[in-house]
C-alpha cells in the first residue's frame, strides 16, 4: 500500500491548532502586538462563545485558535486547565526564527518573559518564552544538524 500517495490526497496540511487562553482578548493582543501575528477571525456566537483565531502574517493557512478552558470541558476539567496554565506546565507552539538572539532582544524589550535565554544546540539555537496565559512557546533557529557536533 502506498501510504504516501493516499495520505497526500486525504490530508493536505495542518490548518488549525489550539492554544489555551485565560483571556481571549489579552491573548489576541499578546500574539498580535508582541509576536507580530494577525487576527484571522473574531466572531461571537452567542451564549458566551467567542471564536478568535490568529495566524502568522505569511501563513494564513495555519490558524491558531485561542481557546478558553470552558465547555465542552466540565467545570472541574476547566479549573484543572486553568491551574496547569497558572503553574506554567502547558506548552503550546514551536516558532521558527531567523535569528534567535535578535528575537530574544526584541521580545525582551517588549516585555515578553523568557524561561530560557537562547541556548546553542547541535541543531540550532533555542529559547523558551511564556505567553500571556502561561503557555511556554519555543523559539528555534534551525541549522543543519551534524551529529558529530553532538559527540
Amino acid at each position: 500500500m502506498n501510504w504516501g500517495n493516499s495520505l497526500g490526497r486525504m490530508i493536505t496540511n495542518v490548518s488549525l491548532v489550539t492554544v489555551w487562553s485565560l483571556d481571549q482578548e489579552r491573548s489576541r493582543d499578546f500574539y498580535v502586538d508582541k509576536l507580530g501575528f494577525v487576527v484571522n477571525t473574531d466572531a461571537v456566537m452567542g451564549d458566551g462563545f467567542r471564536w478568535i483565531t490568529v495566524n502568522h502574517p505569511d501563513h494564513p493557512e495555519l490558524e491558531i485558535t485561542l481557546r478558553p478552558p470552558g465547555p465542552p470541558l466540565d467545570q472541574e476539567a476547566a479549573a484543572f486547565v486553568r491551574r496547569e496554565l497558572g503553574k506554567g506546565h502547558l506548552g503550546a507552539l514551536g516558532l521558527q526564527v531567523d535569528d534567535c538572539h535578535k528575537t530574544f532582544q526584541e521580545l525582551s524589550a517588549k516585555g515578553v518573559e523568557f524561561v530560557q535565554e537562547p541556548a546553542d544546540r547541535p541543531y540550532g539555537t533555542e529559547a523558551i518564552i511564556r505567553d500571556d496565559s502561561g503557555n511556554w512557546l519555543v523559539l528555534v533557529e534551525k541549522k543543519e544538524f551534524r551529529p558529530l557536533d553532538a559527540g
Partner: protein, 167 residues
Amino acid sequence: MVLDERRTRRAVPVELLPHLRHARDRIDREYHADLDLAALAATAGISKFYFVRCFEAAYGETPMRYLTRRRLERAQDLLRLANLTITEVCMTVGFSSLGSFSAKFTRLVGESPSAYRDRWAAHGGPRVPGCFLFMRGALDLRGTASPGRAAGPGCAIPEKPGGELGQ
C-alpha cells in the same frame, strides 16, 4: 513520583499560581546563580514561609529542591552535549562542591556524572529538542534520557526518601 495535589489544592488559590510560576521561571533562568529563598519569595511577592508552603503544594517539591533538580538537569544536558570536565559542569550549573554535586547527581539520576557522560558519548546526543527536555525537567532514566537502557528500580529515587508529600 506521584504528587497528590488534591490534598493541598485548596491551599493554593489559582490567582497565586502565576506568582509561583514567576519564581519557578526565575529558577529556570538563573539556576547557576546564588539564589536563596528570600530572593525567590520576593519574586513571587509573598513571605518566605507562605512561598515555600504554596510552592511545594503546587509543584510537589520545595523551591530549593526544584533548584537542585534544575541544576542537575542542566548538568545532564551539558554531560550529553558539551565537551567539559565533570568539575566544569559542576561549577557551570551552580554547585560549589564537586562532592556534593556528584552525590546528588548519582542519587537522583542513578549513575555517576562520568558514567552518564560516557554512556551518552557512545550514543551521540538525543534527537529531541532540548527545550522540551528542559521543560520536562525530570531526571529519571525511564523518560528523558535512556538510550539502550531499560528502566530499572532506583532510577527515580526522590532526593528525600519518601518525597516531601504524602507522608
